[in-house]
């Protein structure tokens, strides 16, 4: 197909935006659009012009489980990405900032690892206000306690992600802020 034809581009773009393009043709077209400024402009033009049909469509709040499922799926496809981010400089900076907070922190809950058994343990160390805190977790056969930060003030929806991220970090037995972690 001659995508460069001046009359064809707006027609194909309209067909694409309207949604009447067959799936295979659409995928081919999308690949073409990525490197073709004329087609991309035509698509953008049609999208913006027909966009009011979506803008007037009433909002509908999706149920909470939709986001949880999305989170689970992106966690599965990008664990390495998440781990890299957790170990990033920014994350360390936040971790050390929280160390200052922790100087006046009280242990809210601490489940210590039992050295004689093989199991994972999790401890939550919270500031008195309950706004900031850490999650520390041990991993069997690992001599250190991995320590990761979890801001308890984050919305409820985000907490499982932090929790998973914290546990993910200890899965490779590479604790961060090791000097802050209680030694066994």
């Amino acid at each position: 197909m001659n995508y460069g034809h001046p009359q064809l581009a707006p027609r194909l773009a309209a067909d694409y935006v309207l949604g009447t393009m067959p799936v295979r043709t659409r995928r081919r077209f999308e690949r073409e659009v990525a490197g073709n400024a004329t087609l991309a402009a035509a698509v953008a033009g049609w999208s913006e012009r027909l966009g009011p049909l979506d803008a007037v469509t009433p909002d509908q709040v999706p149920p909470a489980h939709v986001w949880r499922r999305i989170e689970q799926r992106i966690d599965r496809v990008a664990p390495a990405r998440a781990a890299a981010r957790m170990r990033s400089v920014g994350f360390f900076r936040r971790g050390f900032a929280m160390a200052a907070v922790a100087a006046c922190a009280a242990i809210a809950i601490y489940v210590a690892a039992n050295p004689g058994t093989v199991r994972n343990e999790v401890a939550m160390i919270a500031e008195k206000t309950g706004l900031d805190g850490w999650i520390a977790s041990t991993r069997h056969a690992a001599p250190d306690i991995g320590l990761s930060t979890m801001r308890l003030g984050v919305p409820e929806r985000e907490r499982p992600r932090w929790l998973r991220a914290a546990l993910l970090l200890t899965d490779d037995a590479r604790p961060i802020a090791e000097d802050l972690a209680p030694k066994r």
Binding site: V17, T20, R26
Partner: protein, 169 residues
């Protein structure tokens, strides 16, 4: 969106919070059933997460890009299932009800589009709206309008050309 493209899950959560209601509304409009629309929204956001780096602000607004992904996910889902929700109302009625309850800031663009749609003959206008609002294929539109597929195809082209001129594309 820029932060989401770098793999920032927190930013992705914010993007979801800011846009999911609108996008779920679009998915529900096309799919007609909540459980299918939920699946579509899920698929769409997983795709958005994977393709966020492809978004180019020069080529349109974030919302336009997101809506395009959701619409195509919804259309794919319905074609894959080879089933259509029952009880889709006439697209003109649906559009009228949307316009009546829409916010005023969508008014100018919507009025321009409405004026151009009104210039089309009733049947071609219905074909355009069935395709866009409900994601119907040409074959499905032909069944719905009781005309041959070829007629739908040519009337869609003509309608789009007229819309193009009217909207100044």
């Amino acid at each position: 969106m820029r932060r989401t493209a770098t793999g920032d899950q927190s930013a992705f959560g914010e993007l979801y919070d800011a846009t999911s209601a609108k996008l779920f509304g679009v998915a529900l409009r096309i799919c007609g059933r909540r459980e299918i629309a939920e699946e579509v929204l899920q698929e769409a956001f997983v795709a958005i997460w994977g393709r966020a780096k492809d978004y180019d602000p020069v080529r349109g607004s974030v919302m336009t890009w997101l809506v395009t992904i959701v619409r195509h996910c919804a259309i794919d889902q319905l074609r894959h299932q080879q089933s259509r929700p029952e009880g889709h109302s006439a697209p003109e009625e649906l559009l009228s009800s949307f316009v009546a309850t829409s916010r005023s800031d969508t008014g100018v663009e919507m009025r321009a589009l409405q004026r151009c749609l009104d210039e089309l003959d009733p049947q071609p206008r219905k074909a355009v709206l069935l395709a866009y609002l409900y994601g119907l294929t040409r074959d499905e539109i032909a069944v719905r309008l009781k005309v041959p597929v070829g007629t739908v195809k040519s009337s869609l082209w003509r309608s789009l050309e007229r819309l193009q001129r009217c909207l100044g594309l």
